[in-house]
C-alpha cells in the first residue's frame, strides 16, 4: 500500500503540464481528465496511443506533451507499450543507457480500443505482468468517427448507429480485476481530488495498471459544453458511474453516494437519452435503468456490512 501525499483540493498540482491549443472539442471530459492526470504523472513518460480522438493531440509538427509519444494503431497500443518497456529494460540491463534515461510507459486510448479491438493486446500485457499504466478515456462510443455504438455504449443511448441501444455497457473494470493486475481505478475529471489520489497511487506501483476515465462528450452525448462538469458530477451523484479502485486484491468504492440523485437527472441533460423523455416519458426504460443502478449499490453496501 502506498502513502497518498495529496489529501486536499488545495494540494492538487497547478502545473498545467499539458499544453493548450489542441483540437479536442470544447467541454471534452477526456481532455479535462488527461490534464489532471498529466499534472500528477509528470512528464517523464512515453505515451503510446491508439486510434481515437486523442490521436489528434499530436499532429505534425505540434504536441501538447512535454514527454514522448508513439502512435501505434487502434488494436495494439498495449503491444507498443510492451516493446518500449522491454527495450528500455534491455538498454538499462545492458548498460547502454543510464538508469536516469528510463521513463514510465503509458497507454492512452479511447473506449473503442480499450473495450473492444484492443482487448487482445491488452490481455497479453496482463499475462506478461507488464509494467505500465493504461489510461482509457471512455466517452461511450466511437467518438472520433461521430459517436457510433461501441462496446462501452450504455443501455438506451442513441448513437449514430443505434436508436435506443438495446445492449449494456461492457464491464471493463471487472474484466481487468478478474485477472488480478496491480491496480484498476475509475476516475472522472469532474472529481479532481479522487482522480489525483488514484493517479498518485498508480504512479507508485509497478505492473499493469488501468485507469478508466469517464469522458463527458458534448458532441457525442449531445449537450452544451458548459454542462460538462455538471454532467460529470451527476454521473457520480446518481451512481451511474461508480468511482472505485482495485488494489491489494480488493475492490474499494472511493465515493459512495448514499443519497443517490435519481438517474433521470443525469439522463435528461443529454440529447442521446432525449427519447426517454420526449414525446412522452418511457417509464419502463427509466425504471429499468434506475433499478440496475440501485441493485449495483445495494450489493456494494451489503458487501460492506
Amino acid at each position: 500500500m502506498t502513502e497518498a501525499i495529496i489529501k486536499r483540493m488545495i494540494e492538487l498540482p497547478s502545473t498545467h503540464l499539458l499544453g493548450t491549443g489542441t483540437p479536442m472539442c470544447a467541454g471534452c471530459g477526456g481532455l479535462s481528465a488527461l490534464h489532471e492526470i498529466y499534472d500528477v504523472l509528470g512528464t517523464n513518460n512515453v505515451f503510446v496511443n491508439a486510434a481515437g480522438c486523442m490521436t489528434l493531440l499530436s499532429v505534425y509538427p505540434f504536441t501538447p506533451f512535454r514527454g514522448s509519444w508513439l502512435y501505434t494503431a487502434m488494436a495494439s497500443a498495449p503491444a507498443g507499450a510492451q516493446g518500449i518497456r522491454d527495450a528500455l529494460d534491455i538498454l538499462i540491463e545492458k548498460k547502454r543507457i543510464a538508469p536516469e534515461e528510463d521513463m514510465d510507459v503509458v497507454v492512452l486510448t479511447g473506449d473503442g480500443a480499450a473495450y473492444g479491438m484492443g482487448l487482445s493486446s491488452t490481455s497479453n500485457t496482463i499475462d506478461q505482468n507488464l509494467n505500465y499504466i493504461y489510461i482509457c478515456y471512455d466517452n461511450e462510443g466511437y467518438g472520433n468517427t461521430g459517436q457510433q455504438t461501441s462496446p462501452a455504449t450504455p443501455h438506451a443511448a442513441t448513437t449514430s448507429t443505434s436508436k435506443d441501444y438495446p445492449g449494456y455497457k461492457k464491464d471493463l473494470f471487472s474484466i481487468w480485476v478478474a485477472n488480478k493486475p496491480t491496480y484498476v481505478a475509475t476516475v472522472i475529471g469532474a472529481e479532481p481530488l479522487d482522480l489525483a489520489k488514484k493517479i498518485e497511487k498508480a504512479k507508485q506501483l509497478k505492473g499493469p495498471r488501468m485507469i478508466i476515465a469517464l469522458a463527458m462528450c458534448p458532441a457525442g452525448w449531445d449537450f452544451d459544453p458548459k454542462h460538462s462538469i455538471e454532467i460529470g458530477k451527476l454521473a457520480i451523484k446518481t451512481g451511474v458511474f461508480p468511482l472505485k479502485e482495485y488494489i491489494d486484491g480488493k475492490v474499494v468504492h472511493t465515493r459512495i453516494p448514499r443519497h443517490r440523485t435519481p438517474v433521470e437527472e443525469y439522463l435528461k441533460l443529454q440529447g442521446r437519452f432525449r427519447h426517454l423523455f420526449e414525446p412522452e416519458r418511457d417509464e419502463e426504460q427509466l425504471a429499468e435503468i434506475q433499478a440496475r443502478i440501485d441493485t449495483y449499490w445495494e450489493k456494494v453496501l451489503s458487501d460492506q456490512e
Binding site: F65, W69, Q82, G83, A87, E101
Partner: protein, 420 residues
C-alpha cells in the same frame, strides 16, 4: 567457422544469434515455429543474450518489434502466411516508423483453402509496404542474408525494416550443409546497433509516428520512405562486397546461371529456382542455349540490373509461385513493366504459374516450358499465360471430387432417412 547440416529455420535462428539481437517478440505459426523454438532454447541456456516475449498475435508481435526498434535496440522476429496477413496493418505502420529490424517470413500459401505448404502469395502481399525484401534460395542464403539484412536495415541511407524470405518446407524443414560463421567474425561484420535519431530517452523527449493533416506532409514522408527503400540497392552492393571479403560468399540482387550466351531464360525466385538450375544443366546437355535468372532482391526492385541481364535474349519464361487473382503472376507483371520500351528487351516474356501450396515443378515441366519458349520465338507470338497442372493431377483431383460428391450425397440421404 563450422559446417553443419541445418534446416532453413535453423539457419534463420543462427542469423539472429550471430547478429547479437537484443529482443525477439514471437508468435508461433507453421512452418516458422522452429525458428522461435530454437531461439528460445538458446536464450534459456544463455547462448543468446536476448529477451524473448510471446505476444498474443502477429499484429501485436509486429507492433512490439517496431516499438522496441524505435526505442533503440536490435530486434528480430519471424512469421509466415496467415500470420503475416494478420499483422499486415502493422507491417505498413512500422515501415512508416522507419524502424530498422529484421523479420523472417517462411513462405506458405494463403487461405482459402487453408494449407500449410509453400508458395509466395504471402510475401507478395507485403510488396508495397516499405520493408525491403530478400528472397533466399538455399539455407546458406538464409543465414548470410539475415546478417546482411541487419546491415541493410540499419544503414544510415536506408533505416527501414527488412524481410528475409524462405520457402516453407522446401527450405524451412530441409537440412543443407551450412557454413556457420564464427561469432566474433559475425559481430565484427554486423557491428553494434546505432539507433541514430530513432529512440526514446528521458533526456530527449521525442514524438514518433504522429498524425499529419493534409496530403502534402503525408506525401513527403511517403516519398522519403520510398527513396530510402530505393537506396537499398546501392547499400546492398556495398555491404555484400564487404561480406564476400570477410566470408568468401557473394550475393547480388540478381543471380545468373549460364545466362551470358543464353537465348532462352527461366526467371524465378526462391528455392524452386535451384530446380530450374538442374533443368538448365539437362537442357544444356541437349544443346539448348538456355540459362536462369534468379531474383534475390524483390524490394527495392533491381530494375537496371534486370534490363542489362536480359538485353538481347530471345525469350524469358517467368515462373510465378503466386497468383494475383484476376491478373496473374506478380513477377511477370513486374518484369514486363521494367522491360517495356527497351529496344533490346526480349520480344517474348511468357508467364507460367506453378508450385502453389507446395506443389512441385518437375523437370519435365521445365523442359515443356523451354519448348513453349522456342515455339513462341518461331511464331513470333507471346503465348497466353499458363497455369501448370498435369493430366495426371487432373485425373487424381477428379477422383477426390468424386469421393466428395459421394460423401455429400450419402450424408444427404442419411439425413432424409433419419429425418434429421
Amino acid at each position: 567457422m563450422t559446417r553443419q547440416l541445418i534446416t532453413g529455420n535453423g539457419a534463420a535462428a543462427w542469423g539472429a544469434r550471430l547478429a547479437n539481437v537484443d529482443y525477439v517478440p514471437a508468435f508461433p505459426i507453421t512452418p516458422q515455429t522452429e525458428i522461435i523454438e530454437t531461439i528460445s532454447r538458446w536464450v534459456d541456456s544463455d547462448q543468446m543474450n536476448a529477451r524473448m516475449v510471446t505476444l498474443e498475435s502477429e499484429h501485436s508481435m509486429i507492433t512490439a518489434a517496431g516499438a522496441a526498434a524505435t526505442t533503440g535496440i536490435r530486434v528480430f522476429t519471424a512469421t509466415s502466411s496467415q500470420g503475416l496477413l494478420y499483422g499486415m496493418e502493422m507491417i505498413y505502420t512500422v515501415a512508416g516508423w522507419r524502424a530498422p529490424f529484421v523479420m523472417v517470413n517462411v513462405s506458405r500459401g494463403l487461405a482459402a483453402p487453408i494449407t500449410l505448404e509453400s508458395d509466395h502469395n504471402d510475401i507478395m502481399a507485403a510488396r508495397d509496404c516499405g520493408f525491403l525484401q530478400i528472397h533466399c534460395m538455399t539455407c546458406q542464403d538464409v543465414l548470410d542474408n539475415v546478417l546482411i539484412a541487419y546491415r541493410l536495415a540499419e544503414h544510415h541511407d536506408v533505416r527501414l525494416p527488412v524481410f528475409v524470405n524462405l520457402d516453407g518446407f522446401y527450405l524451412s524443414f530441409t537440412r543443407e550443409p551450412v557454413s556457420i560463421p564464427d561469432s566474433k567474425e559475425a559481430f565484427a561484420y554486423v557491428g553494434d546497433y546505432d539507433p541514430e535519431n530513432i529512440r526514446f530517452r528521458a533526456s530527449s523527449p521525442e514524438s514518433q509516428a504522429v498524425a499529419v493533416l493534409g496530403g502534402s506532409p503525408y506525401s513527403y514522408f511517403r516519398y522519403e520512405t520510398h527513396l530510402a527503400n530505393m537506396n537499398g540497392l546501392r547499400v546492398y552492393d556495398e555491404i555484400t562486397t564487404e561480406f564476400a571479403e570477410r566470408f568468401g560468399r557473394n550475393y547480388a540482387p540478381v543471380e545468373t546461371y549460364h545466362c551470358d550466351d543464353a537465348d532462352y531464360v527461366f526467371f524465378m525466385t526462391g528455392s524452386f529456382s535451384t530446380k530450374a538450375k538442374e533443368a538448365v544443366d539437362r537442357l544444356r546437355d541437349a544443346d539448348w542455349q538456355i540459362g536462369l535468372v534468379q531474383l534475390r532482391m524483390m524490394r527495392p526492385y533491381p530494375e537496371q540490373m534486370l534490363k542489362t541481364t536480359l538485353a538481347g535474349k530471345k525469350a524469358v519464361a517467368v515462373i510465378d509461385q503466386n497468383i494475383s487473382m484476376g491478373k496473374g503472376g506478380v513477377l511477370h507483371q513486374e518484369l514486363t513493366s521494367v522491360l517495356y520500351g527497351d529496344h533490346d528487351a526480349p520480344a517474348i516474356v511468357a508467364s507460367f504459374i506453378g508450385g502453389l501450396g507446395g506443389r512441385d515443378i518437375s523437370s519435365e515441366e521445365f523442359y515443356q516450358i523451354a519448348k513453349v519458349l522456342k515455339q513462341a520465338v518461331s511464331d513470333n507470338k507471346t503465348p497466353a499465360p499458363r497455369l501448370l497442372y498435369t493430366e495426371t493431377e487432373m485425373r487424381e483431383f477428379k477422383k477426390l471430387q468424386a469421393i466428395a460428391h459421394v460423401e455429400r450425397d450419402d450424408l444427404g440421404s442419411h439425413k432424409k432417412r433419419t429425418g434429421a
